[in-house]
C-alpha cells in the first residue's frame, strides 16, 4: 500500500478538511477580536469578573493566537495544504497558478516560524544623551547589539491649526473682546492685530497704527512657574495649560515680555493699559516624532541618522522604529528593535501568492482559450 492510499493521507488531502480548517481558524480569530488580547489582569477582572478571568485564562482566550488549539489548527492547515499540493503536484502551465498560490501560504507560514524561532524583538527606552549597547527582548533576554546607539535629541512637532491665533484688542474703543464659547469664537470688534503663534514665522507684527510691535517668543503646552529657578517651564507635553510668551515693543522700542494663557485670559492683563491679549488656542495634532541618533562602534562614530515613524533605521541586521515617546517631558524616546530573518521569506510568499492568483483567475482562462481548438 502506497502512502497515498492510507486513510490519513486521504483525510489530509480533502478539500472538505480545508474548508473546515479555514472556518475554524476564522472563528477562533473572530473570538480574539472581541476579547481583548494580552492585556493586564485588572482589565479582564473589571470586564468579566474574577471567575470569568480565570475561565478565560484556562481556555487560553487572553492570548488566543498563541493558544495550543490555534497553533494546532495552523499545523493541521499546513499539513492539509502540503498533502493537497503533493497530491496534485503538476508542472503543467495550467496548474502553475494553483500550485503557486497554495505553496505561497506555506511559505508565509514558514516565514512566520523563522521569525518566531530566530527573530528578536525588543524595546529601548533611551533618554536624551544616553547610550545603549543592548536591549531587553520580548522573551526577557538581554540582547547585545554589538554597537552603541546614542540618542542626541528627541524632537516632537505639532501641527498648528490656522485658527490658532493671538488676538490683540484695543481697550480704547470700548471694545468687548468676548472670545469665549465652545466653538464659534466670535470675532468681537476691537481686534486690531492677529498673530499666528508659529514661532519664528512671523517675526514682528505691527499693532495697527499704534506704533507698537508684537512678537511671539515661546510656546509651552503645560505652563508652570518653577519657583526655585524663577523660570517658566512646561510640566508636560500635554496641553494642560497652553501659554505663549510675547514680546511687546512700544514706540521707542522699549520691550516688555510676558505670558498669555489660553485657559486663563484674565491673567497678566495689566501689562499695557491700551491692549488686551487673547490667546485663542486650538487643539494641536502631532506632526512628527524624530529621534536623532548616532551609531558608534569601537568608539568610532559610524553614522548619524533621524528615526521617524515610517522611516526606521537599519543597521547590522537590526531595525529601529520610532514607537513611543515621553509625553510628559519629552525626555526619552521609545524605540522598537527588531531583527526578523523571516521577513524576506514572508515577502517572497506574498509575491508567489499574488502571481498564483493572477495566473488562476486571469492567465488560465486565456490559455484555455488557446487550447480549445485542439480538443
Amino acid at each position: 500500500m502506497t502512502i497515498k492510499q492510507t486513510g490519513i493521507w486521504k483525510f489530509f488531502s480533502s478539500v472538505k478538511l480545508a474548508i473546515w480548517l479555514l472556518s475554524i481558524i476564522a472563528v477562533l480569530s473572530l473570538i480574539g477580536t472581541f476579547i481583548p488580547q494580552n492585556q493586564e489582569a485588572a482589565l479582564y477582572i473589571e470586564r468579566y469578573g474574577q471567575l470569568g478571568y480565570r475561565a478565560l485564562l484556562s481556555l487560553g482566550l487572553t492570548d488566543i493566537y498563541s493558544a495550543w488549539y490555534f497553533i494546532l489548527s495552523l499545523i493541521l492547515f499546513s499539513l492539509n495544504l502540503s498533502v493537497c499540493l503533493l497530491n496534485r503536484l503538476s508542472f503543467k502551465m495550467r496548474s502553475l497558478g494553483t500550485m503557486l498560490s497554495h505553496f505561497s501560504i506555506l511559505v508565509i507560514l514558514l516565514g512566520a516560524m523563522i521569525g518566531m524561532l530566530f527573530g528578536q524583538k525588543g524595546f529601548i527606552e533611551i533618554s536624551k544623551g544616553e547610550e545603549v549597547d543592548s536591549f531587553l527582548s520580548r522573551n526577557g533576554q538581554q540582547v547585545n547589539l554589538g554597537f552603541r546607539l546614542k540618542l542626541n535629541d528627541f524632537i516632537y512637532t505639532e501641527y498648528i491649526d490656522p485658527k490658532e491665533k493671538l488676538f490683540v484688542c484695543s481697550s480704547l474703543k470700548e471694545a468687548v473682546c468676548m472670545m469665549q464659547g465652545p466653538h464659534g469664537q466670535e470675532k468681537a470688534k476691537g481686534i486690531i492685530a492677529e498673530i499666528s503663534p508659529e514661532i519664528g514665522v512671523e517675526a514682528e507684527t505691527a499693532i495697527a497704527d499704534t506704533g507698537y510691535k508684537i512678537k511671539v517668543l515661546r510656546y509651552l503646552p503645560d505652563f508652570v512657574m518653577d519657583t526655585s529657578m524663577k523660570v517658566a517651564v512646561s510640566r508636560s507635553a500635554q496641553p494642560n495649560n497652553p501659554a505663549i510668551e510675547v514680546e511687546l515693543k512700544d514706540k521707542e522700542g522699549k520691550a516688555k515680555t510676558f505670558w498669555v494663557f489660553a485657559r486663563f485670559p484674565d491673567i497678566h492683563q495689566e501689562i499695557d493699559k491700551d491692549f488686551k491679549f487673547i490667546y485663542h488656542w486650538v487643539g494641536r495634532r502631532p506632526k512628527d516624532f524624530i529621534s536623532k541618533v548616532t551609531i558608534l562602534k569601537d568608539g568610532q562614530e559610524i553614522m548619524r541618522r533621524d528615526i521617524r515613524v515610517n522611516e526606521p533605521l537599519r543597521f547590522s541586521g537590526y531595525t529601529f522604529f520610532q514607537s513611543s515617546y515621553d509625553n510628559e517631558g519629552l525626555n526619552w524616546s521609545g524605540l522598537q528593535v527588531v531583527k526578523d530573518p523571516g521577513v524576506p521569506v514572508i515577502y517572497a510568499g506574498f509575491i508567489l501568492l499574488i502571481s498564483g492568483l493572477v495566473m488562476i483567475f486571469y492567465l488560465n482562462p486565456l490559455i484555455k482559450y488557446e487550447v480549445t481548438p485542439r480538443a
Binding site: V15, K16, A18, I19, L22, S23, I25, A26, S29, L30, G32, T33, F34, Q37, Y65, A112, K121, Y159, R285, P286, K287, D288, F289, R308, V309, N310, P312, T319, F321, S323, Q336, V337, V338, D340, V343, I346, Y347, F350, L353, I354, L357, V358, I360, F361
Partner: protein
C-alpha cells in the same frame, strides 16, 4: 469650490440610479445610455473632487471615514460601468448604483474638514493600501448584489452566478493585495507585519470566507444558491471589517472612525 463637485457627483450618481431603474422597468436602450452617461459623469466629478481635496490637503485624501467613503463610491461607480458594459444585467446596475449612492450619502453626513495626517499615516503605502482595499470592496459589493438578486429569484440564473464568481475572484485578489500592502506598510512603520489587530484579523476572516467560496465553487461544484449564501456572508464580514471594527473594536486603525 470642491463641495460643488461633491454635490454634483451626488446628483449625477442619483440620476444614474434613476435611469438604470427606468431601464429596468421600460427596457429602453436610450435610458440605459443616459444612465451610463450619468455614471461616467459621476466618476469624472468624483475624480475632480478627490483631486482638489488632494491638492488642498497636500496629501492623498484617504485618511478617515469620510474620505474612504468617497473613494468607496468612486470605486463602486468604476466597477459598475465595467460590469454594466460587460454583462448588461439591469437589476445589478440599479442596486450597485444604490450602494454607491448610500456610501456617498453616508459620507455627506460626516465632517468634511481636512485635518493634517498623523505621523503613522505619512507613507506612500497609504495610497496603495487604501486603493487596493477599496477596489476590492467595490467588486465584493457587486458580488453581494448579484448574490442577493440570485437568492430572490425563483429560477436559477447562470449569469448572476457568473457575475458573483467573477467579481469575487477580482475582489479576492485585491483584498489579498490590500492585506499584503498593509502588512508591508506595518512592517516598515512598526517592525511587525502582523499583530492580530482587529482590522487585520477581520480582513483575514473576510478573505478566508471568500477562499471558502472559491473552493466550494471550483472544487466541490457548489453553484447558484448555496454559493450565493457564502458570498453574502463574506460581504457581511467585509462590512464588519470596514465599519464594525472602526466603531465597535479598538486597534491600530482607530483613526478610521473619525
Amino acid at each position: 469650490m470642491p463641495s460643488l463637485y461633491f454635490n454634483l457627483s451626488f446628483g449625477v450618481y442619483f440620476l444614474a440610479m434613476v435611469f438604470y431603474m427606468g431601464n429596468l422597468v421600460f427596457a429602453d436602450k436610450i435610458l440605459s445610455s443616459i444612465a451610463r452617461f450619468c455614471i461616467s459623469c459621476a466618476i469624472i466629478s468624483l475624480s475632480i473632487y478627490i483631486g482638489m481635496r488632494w491638492q488642498i490637503a497636500g496629501r492623498p485624501p484617504l485618511s478617515n471615514m469620510f474620505e474612504s467613503l468617497v473613494i468607496f463610491s468612486w470605486a463602486i461607480a468604476a466597477v459598475l460601468i465595467f460590469i454594466d458594459l460587460k454583462y448588461k444585467i439591469k437589476s445589478i446596475a440599479v442596486l450597485v448604483a444604490l450602494m454607491g449612492l448610500l456610501s456617498l450619502g453616508y459620507a455627506s453626513l460626516l465632517d468634511k474638514t481636512i485635518v493634517p495626517l498623523l505621523p503613522a499615516l505619512k507613507s506612500n503605502w497609504l495610497t496603495i493600501h487604501v486603493l487596493t482595499c477599496f477596489i476590492g470592496y467595490a467588486a465584493l459589493t457587486v458580488s453581494f448584489v448579484s448574490s442577493v438578486i440570485l437568492l430572490f429569484k425563483q429560477k436559477e440564473d447562470k449569469n448572476l452566478d457568473t457575475v458573483t464568481y467573477k467579481m469575487i475572484t477580482f475582489g479576492f485578489l485585491f483584498l489579498a493585495l490590500g492585506i499584503i500592502s498593509g502588512a508591508v506598510w506595518a512592517n516598515s512603520a512598526w517592525g511587525t507585519y502582523w499583530s492580530w489587530d482587529p482590522k487585520e484579523t477581520w480582513s483575514l476572516i473576510t478573505w478566508f470566507i471568500y477562499a471558502i467560496y472559491l473552493h466550494i465553487r471550483m472544487r466541490k461544484g457548489w453553484k447558484g444558491r448555496k454559493a450565493a449564501w457564502v458570498s453574502v456572508i463574506g460581504f457581511l464580514a467585509m462590512l464588519f471589517t470596514y465599519f464594525g471594527v472602526n466603531y465597535l473594536l479598538s486597534g491600530l486603525h482607530s483613526y478610521g472612525s473619525s
